[in-house]
Symmetry: C2
Subunit: 466 residues, 2 copies
């Protein structure tokens, strides 16, 4: 059997790039994807296992392994968007040695296989959020809803104000880039934190639920902040109507899907039970998750928000355990692609102090890192209520910016608002907050484990007494 590609690309593979080379280029895309996946999986397993051995969360090892195979070191996994060209990629070099492609084909294969890996990584984070939604207990989440909202709001306002003012007052920076850098401090990477929480078995704890809830709300706020600063950067003024639209639609989407989900639940179970063919549970679940992800995207929110809402809804069904079981292998093969790719895209060369740009960036970075960490850690103390919670753990859980911060840096760079040192500073801040959060979180939960256990005992006593 021949790969399907050969026939398809023989006619009109790429709209503007239809050349005779397409016939030879097309099967190469599949080969490139296969080889990239082998490198990604090897890196994720090596990194994850080593991390586990030294008692750190596996996801941290996957990120570091991603950095090692990525643009900073081995070049096994590089992406054209970061400015890399085909000859920078070891995968393409190997394909080239095997097939002797012509230069046009090389560029096309490189772009196509990078696109496929990028989308697989995004499907990975969608499945991750779906799985997190499945594991999150809606009633638990509702219990922490108000507290999560406060944590999220403090975690957006504090670093934004401190960062922006600090850059203007201390570094004498113009307002617009300072606002942009401040905005980059507001994000929280739900992917990394929730993976670590899950690995620590803390996803369902009160702290875990507050962090996840706050990170989701932070996502919503982050979308709004980005829309605001992007329009500020573009036009010099803020589009109030758009800001209001984003706030209302995001809130309505989450609450609406949870509300409608109560009715949808029973139909879902009924459908899954009627289906006779293979995939009777997992395919309807993915149809729902992908539809919700698409819907969220269609109303200008984020796909992952939809996947998370879908998981929350299906969590309430009788089929939950069975579905959990079937989603695990799917998540196992897709989620590592996301984390390794996040690592692979980080360019550590901005840390090299021999360049003057980098030195200036390092000083600003140091400031941003301090604001980023303190601005989020204080959120733990915004939690009210009688229940004893691990405030430090909540604050630390909000620290990692992950890929979200990189998006701010990228859009800022593309719009010309951020100069090189400020870009470098934001990237360094993102790297550091992403990498320190997992071990700190483990430490925060570990060190207060006794206290938490005591709190549980107290709570048990209290409920027994009632």
């Amino acid at each position: 059997m021949m790969p399907l590609e050969s026939i398809f690309h023989s006619q009109l593979g790429f709209p503007l790039l239809a050349t005779a080379s397409d016939t030879e280029a097309a099967p190469m895309v599949l080969a490139g994807v296969l080889l990239s996946l082998v490198f990604i999986y090897l890196a994720s397993k090596l990194g994850g296992e080593l991390s586990q051995l030294v008692n750190l969360p596996p996801v941290l090892g996957e990120l570091v392994a991603g950095v090692i195979v990525g643009v900073s070191a081995l070049h096994l996994l590089v992406f054209p968007e970061a400015g890399a060209i085909a000859s920078d990629s070891v995968v393409i070099t190997i394909l080239q040695k095997i097939a002797g492609l012509n230069p046009e084909s090389i560029g096309e294969v490189f772009a196509s296989q990078s696109e496929v890996i990028s989308v697989l990584a995004e499907l990975g984070v969608i499945i991750l959020l779906f799985e997190i939604g499945l594991e999150s207990d809606l009633r638990e989440l509702q219990k922490v809803g108000v507290r999560a909202a406060i944590v999220a709001t403090v975690g957006v306002v504090a670093p934004f104000v401190a960062g922006t003012l600090g850059l203007i007052l201390i570094f004498g920076m113009p307002t617009i880039p300072a606002v942009f850098a401040g905005a980059a401090l507001t994000a929280t990477s739900i992917g990394i934190t929730s993976k670590v929480l899950s690995e620590l078995g803390q996803l369902k704890s009160t702290e875990g639920q507050i962090i996840v809830g706050a990170a989701v709300i932070d996502d919503v706020l982050g979308i709004i902040v980005l829309a605001v600063v992007a329009s500020l950067a573009k036009t010099g003024e803020v589009d109030i109507a758009n800001v209001i639209y984003l706030i209302i639609s995001a809130t309505a989407f989450l609450l609406g899907s949870i509300f409608l989900g109560q009715f949808f639940n029973k139909s879902f179970v009924a459908i899954a039970e009627k289906l006779q063919t293979r995939g009777n549970l997992v395919i309807p679940a993915l149809i729902f998750a992908f539809s919700m992800a698409f819907l969220a995207h269609a109303i200008h929110l984020e796909a992952i928000l939809g996947a998370f809402a879908a998981g929350l809804v299906l969590d309430e069904t009788d089929k939950r355990k069975e579905l959990d079981q079937q989603i695990i292998p799917i998540a196992d093969i897709l989620v590592p692609i996301f984390f390794v790719c996040v690592g692979a895209r980080v360019d550590l060369s901005v840390l090299n102090p021999s360049s003057a740009d980098n030195r200036q960036g390092l000083v600003i970075a140091a400031f941003l890192i301090v604001v980023a960490i303190i601005g989020k850690i204080i959120t733990g103390w915004a939690v009210f209520g009688k229940e004893k919670v691990n405030r430090l753990a909540i604050g630390i859980g909000m620290i990692p910016r992950g890929e979200v911060g990189l998006v701010f840096a990228g859009i800022g760079a593309a719009s010309g608002v951020l100069d090189k040192p400020l870009q470098a500073a934001i990237i360094i801040m993102v790297i550091l907050t992403t990498f320190i959060a997992p071990p700190l979180l483990r430490f925060a939960f570990g060190s207060e484990e006794t206290a938490a256990q005591e709190a549980v005992k107290e709570a048990d006593l209290a409920s027994t007494n009632n």
Copy 2:
């Protein structure tokens, strides 16, 4: 959290297409993929379930559903390689309504999302062959090895000779297009047949093993035939050295991987048992399967041949059952993409007899179909040995050409060898053989079920008597 795409594409999304539109186009690719997957999954489940209801194999329903959502009817899933442009795609039209992309972005989004879906479909067939390898018993396959080889050889030689001579002698066709059309008759689609066999519970029967073995060998022969006729079409002469290379490398690859696999087995189990993190079994298995698929591709064989060999090797480990269990959900979400896409790519408009080209094509098609069916059915009677086998079922199992035949048609069309009527005839032959094989196969196994059961009883008696 923002999609990663936005940052990456803001710089240099496509090598030759870097425009300001990239920033808005990039998250649209993910949206397009999500929507396409929703359509694919809906089609596969509806088709599969309806097919099951009327007692036909689900995979046939998936194919038909693919035709309905594809280029022939609903246009929910169309591919640029068949000549479709962005505005033909309902997915792109929906994206367009949501986001109002500019014309350049549309073409780019259409090409990228089609590329991603194509690669997902190919990963689907790779996982399918890996799963079939896992389910195939190597010792059983070795038992049927010689018989499978004979079936495959007869199934390649008979339709090729009859088809080529018939086209020359009856239709007065020139030699080279006749040879090409004859070559298109030789293929066997292992994907469709083995899925049906698996659904009928016949994959591990002697007949099932002969069919799968013969289909694998047919793949190898098909690669060689394609290489030969392609070089014939290009240069007018056959490259003997290449033919010999292909025969030796394909045989060496399969036998070599099975031989080395005996030693690799134990290391694989040892590694999987040592790993502590999630995906400890499925990720090493996929690393192995994808590496083998890449290796097969690298030595100019087919990726699916490598995946099948990998499955055969891992089938012999103690972890087989656990691995089977974990591969199922992965196959459930990837394999339907393959079958729906095969259906979606079939253009039924070539069946419309109102065009003169189509009428001429239909006559040739009728001839090709007869040769295609008879040429494969006789292979059942090439099976020797004392054991009583269902010869009709074996012959029918070899009938479907599936996507393999479409590849021949595509390459022939691209090289200019095949004119429109002959192209149409080959496509009709492929469609019909693909669609009739599953119900016929079910009939053949059903009608001779009693005979087969008697044969089993006889065999039991014989073994008891010994």
